[in-house]
């Protein structure tokens, strides 16, 4: 994506701004439902065990979610997928998607990632019938791939000519922010607390995206073991607001 031009301080000057950015904003707003508001990826287990009850606790949890979980899991899949799609290396993509599926140890988290990927595709294909996305849909239908969200997300952003850093950054942002919304609803906390948490998380997200640019599949790590176990235990909670 091109950078804003020097005199972009004027709101009337749109020259040099990648106006495609609006499409990216759209796929992350609530009018483009991919189901993230129904997923907590294990967070709900901690809310119910009273481990996350305050604004500070939710912030610390999400800071760890970005820097110890997403950075070493999905951010790497987003990056590797982007590069394989860029090289048009279909075999590498299919292998990566298989590894992405296998690496998600907790059943509910694995299912959530697939479900979001499928819903994203269902939403985007009718309005953006791109050849690559159509091929992806066919691979999904014939069982060659499982449909994980970080992979198809990269395919879309590449086709829309967004750069790799923007792709990782926005993926991390949307994954984290949807958990803020869900946390605020489930704990519950006020809207102001949510805003405050998001503002404090943004520098963490930027930092993680920068680090992710230097990682590859060898750096994959499931060391957020607590969250993984929380996600496995989620299925056994008595009452649940979220699917995962």
């Amino acid at each position: 994506m091109k950078k804003q031009s020097v005199d972009s301080s004027s709101p009337l000057n749109t020259e040099g701004i990648n106006t495609n950015f609006l499409y990216l904003m759209h796929i992350h707003d609530s009018a483009f439902p991919i189901g993230s508001y129904t997923q907590s990826f294990g967070m709900e287990t901690y809310i119910q065990s009273d481990d996350i009850l305050t604004k500070q606790k939710l912030f610390s949890f999400l800071k760890a979610y970005v820097s110890e979980n997403l950075l070493f899991t999905d951010a790497i899949f987003v990056k590797e997928a982007y590069e394989h799609f860029q090289n048009d290396d279909w075999n590498a993509i299919v292998r990566l998607e298989n590894i992405c599926d296998a690496s998600k140890n907790a059943t509910e988290t694995r299912e959530a990632s697939k479900m979001m990927g499928k819903q994203f595709l269902r939403g985007i294909l009718p309005v953006f019938p791109d050849e690559g996305l159509t091929k992806w849909k066919a691979a999904l239908d014939n069982g060659q791939v499982k449909g994980h969200f970080p992979i198809v997300y990269s395919l879309y952003t590449l086709k829309m000519a967004f750069d790799l850093f923007t792709t990782i950054l926005t993926y991390l942002y949307s994954s984290t922010i949807s958990l803020v919304h869900n946390g605020v609803r489930a704990i519950p906390l006020g809207q102001k607390a949510g805003i405050e948490i998001i503002h404090k998380l943004i520098p963490e997200i930027i930092e993680a995206a920068k680090k992710a640019m230097n990682l590859n599949l060898d750096d994959l790590s499931n060391h957020a073991v607590g969250l993984e176990i929380a996600s496995m235990q989620h299925a056994y909670l008595h009452s649940r607001l979220f699917i995962s």
Binding site: Y46, S67, S221, V225, E228, I229
Partner: protein
């Protein structure tokens, strides 16, 4: 053994092969390079399985040391491999990591148990472990492992530099397990909620088999104790496996629960 007095890094090798010879699993090939050594195949009464103890005569991995295991099970064999002791990883005084690779091939209708891989990274240790299993739709694998945060009795807790483990299991052309743990205590905040919390041990039990969907995980759940000091979760791997993962401060309890679950899985 004193870690510091040890001279050149050692490179242990153990290549073992099993074959079904007239209905009995036999250890037909064994190449060993010190400090690795295998016992002969033992047959525990009442089972058809060949049990082999894996021995490490040096007492542990010192910086730069490397151990490579290659295991082949031909068709219709049943094997239990038991490392005789935990893998102790000494300080990487010259900053050289210690390495361990395990490469396994399980043929048609064959069954392997690796019981159990235990890694104890000492203060300043650097460890890289990579295990890769290739199996078929008709074979099965039981893999138990425990990773320690250090020598608990010396009060060591995440005092190592790095501990990297990796297990991947391929059933025919499909990846069923791809699990990496990269523990770098200096760069990561491991002891916080959602990561390793206040726990000293990570335990993993993997049971991989194309008929794993028959295992009732709810029944398993009831066999597991959940306390402040010991917790676990169960996951079914798309019908092709089961993972039970522990975070605990109670090592004997992890071992006991692993044994109970192993018994349940193996009698199904």
């Amino acid at each position: 053994m004193s870690a510091v007095t040890k001279a050149a890094p050692s490179h242990g090798k153990l290549d073992i092969k099993f074959r079904n010879v007239r209905g009995k699993t036999s250890l037909v090939d064994c190449y060993q390079q010190p400090p690795l050594k295998a016992s002969r195949a033992l047959y525990i009464e009442g089972t058809r399985k060949a049990t082999v103890y894996l021995m490490e005569s040096s007492g542990g991995l010192v910086a730069g040391d490397r151990n490579d295991f290659t295991v082949e099970l031909e068709e219709n064999t049943e094997v239990v491999l038991k490392p005789q002791s935990a893998t102790k990883v000494y300080p990487a005084f010259n900053n050289q990591p210690s390495e361990q690779t395990i490469t396994i091939h399980i043929g048609e209708n064959s069954h392997l148990e690796w019981n159990r891989d235990e890694i104890i990274p000492f203060e300043r240790a650097k460890f890289n472990g990579k295990s890769r299993v290739q199996m078929t739709n008709s074979s099965s694998l039981l893999w138990n492992e425990i990773i320690y945060s250090g020598r608990e009795k010396r009060g060591e807790k995440f005092a190592f530099q790095e501990c990297n483990t990796h297990l991947e299991v391929w059933m025919e052309a499909e990846c069923v397990v791809y699990d990496s743990l990269k523990l770098h205590p200096k760069e990561q905040e491991l002891q916080q909620l959602s990561v390793l919390e206040d726990f000293n041990y990570i335990g993993n039990l993997w049971f991989i088999c194309s008929e794993a969907s028959k295992v009732d995980s709810t029944e398993f759940q009831k066999l597991l104790v959940q306390t402040e000091n010991h917790k676990s979760g169960i996951s079914t791997l798309d019908g092709k496996g089961i993972l039970v993962r522990w975070l605990s401060n109670n090592l004997p309890l992890i071992k006991r629960e692993m044994e109970t679950l192993d018994m349940h899985l193996l009698t199904k």
